[in-house]
């Protein structure tokens, strides 16, 4: 269990907390809270708006939100504060601008419009259909690919949680090995590469054993 920082301890000692203790706390963590607000918001005004909301929220109900840390101080306070502050900023953003789904972003909307146009293209040259498509897959290949995909999914699902998470971070989320090393406490990025290579080799061997030799060569 981590010890409470002195300013937080002083703040939570009061019922309700004193203005002086709050001022000391805010002074101590202003830079960090501003950094969180700026990382979530667009532009200076929105960041300051989020920052003001953050302070208001953290000080509400006798600093109820901050008291949650004192009952479960498993991490460094600043790490916990970043997680909580970010959530508060996201909530603020949602309350103000509504929940934004991927489909609602302008970039995604433009992409979908473009895709629809391409799909509905009716003035394409008539001979377009007669051009052989080298990339088209035969029914046999499609079935083989589907089998391979299913087998890979099953293989990934059978891995230990730490290894599944490692592969997800690398291949689904696109994190760099250096970033993964920090997140998963590997000694270095080279250890991340080694572990990934080891896992892939293991998966390849298991696929080979199940008759997928040509597909994974």
């Amino acid at each position: 269990m981590a010890e409470l920082p002195r300013t937080l301890e002083n703040l939570l000692r009061g019922e309700p907390p004193s203005d002086e203790a709050w001022a000391a706390f805010a002074r101590e963590y202003t830079a960090l809270l501003l950094h969180v607000a700026r990382s979530v918001a667009r532009g200076t005004d929105e960041a300051m708006d989020a920052y003001a909301y953050l302070l208001e929220h953290l000080s509400a109900d006798g600093c109820r939100r901050l008291r949650a840390y004192s009952s479960d101080p498993r991490s460094k306070f600043t790490t916990w504060l970043v997680v909580v502050a970010r959530r508060i900023c996201i909530d603020h953003h949602r309350a103000k601008y509504g929940r934004l789904r991927n489909q609602e972003s302008s970039t995604e909307r433009d992409r979908l419009v473009l895709r629809r146009r391409l799909e509905n293209l009716d003035d394409a040259p008539a001979f377009a259909d007669s051009i052989p498509d080298d990339s088209a897959t035969s029914p046999v290949t499609a079935v083989e690919n589907a089998e391979l995909t299913n087998e890979l999914k099953a293989l990934r699902a059978s891995l230990a949680p730490a290894d599944r998470l490692l592969l997800n971070l690398r291949f689904d989320d696109g994190l760099s090995a250096a970033e993964i090393a920090v997140l998963l406490r590997y000694s270095s990025q080279f250890h991340v590469y080694r572990r990934i290579n080891s896992l892939l080799a293991e998966m390849k061997a298991r696929l080979n054993a199940r008759g997928f030799e040509s597909a994974v060569s």
Partner: protein
């Protein structure tokens, strides 16, 4: 910078599961989960892209947090933002210029963003073969700190973790039983004030028994 509007944050990815607790995420980010708690969280993160994104975003915010010296150089408070802040009951929260240089040094901030300090590893030296002469790991201590020794194999898998308040750990039999090969070791120190520093990684060799 993260742009919520672009749907790159959890605001754009709706999780069907209960969100992870802030305490769980923070403990994971600090590497303080162990055993079943760690496995449970890793499993959840592996299966839940939204939870994973939240952890990734928080990790990036922490990694990009300004150093303390940079914090002192924050001068910008736009008029509109200042007005919003001034509307709050706690209007006095922002330090005045003359207060900035006398800000109390935050040990917690050191814990998050000033981990560039290092522990001096003593033995085994890089590439050394552990045998009859050297059968222990030793490093320079930090007053009042506790330590975690990590040993990983050539694939990067952590094969041994040992918590101790000492600065010497005997070569564990468990490691010898894993067989000959190249291994890597490092040490994290957790200071009484909650800050932590880490050593670099060193290679060592365990010979055949």
């Amino acid at each position: 910078m993260e742009k919520v509007i672009e749907g790159s944050s959890t605001a754009g990815v709706v999780s069907e599961q209960e969100p992870l607790s802030s305490g769980d995420i923070a403990a994971f980010l600090d590497g303080r989960l162990r055993g079943e708690d760690l496995a449970r969280l890793e499993s959840r993160l592996a299966d839940d892209p939204a939870a994973r994104q939240e952890v990734i975003k928080a990790s990036r915010i922490i990694a990009s947090a300004p150093h303390r010296d940079q914090q002192r150089r924050i001068h910008w408070i736009p008029v509109a933002g200042l007005a919003a802040v001034a509307a709050l009951a706690f209007v006095a929260i922002r330090p005045r210029n003359d207060q900035r240089d006398s800000l109390p040094r935050s040990t917690e901030r050191q814990g998050v963003i000033e981990e560039s300090g290092s522990i001096g590893l003593i033995v085994p030296v890089n590439g050394q073969s552990l045998g009859e002469e050297t059968r222990s790991f030793a490093w320079h201590g930090i007053e009042g700190a506790t330590y975690r020794l990590f040993i990983s194999d050539a694939t990067g898998r952590t094969v041994l973790r040992r918590s101790t308040s000492d600065t010497v750990v005997a070569l564990p039999d468990a490691l010898l039983e894993k067989g000959a090969g190249t291994y890597y070791w490092s040490v994290d120190a957790l200071a009484p004030d909650g800050s932590s520093v880490t050593s670099g990684v060193r290679e060592f060799v365990v010979g055949a028994r």
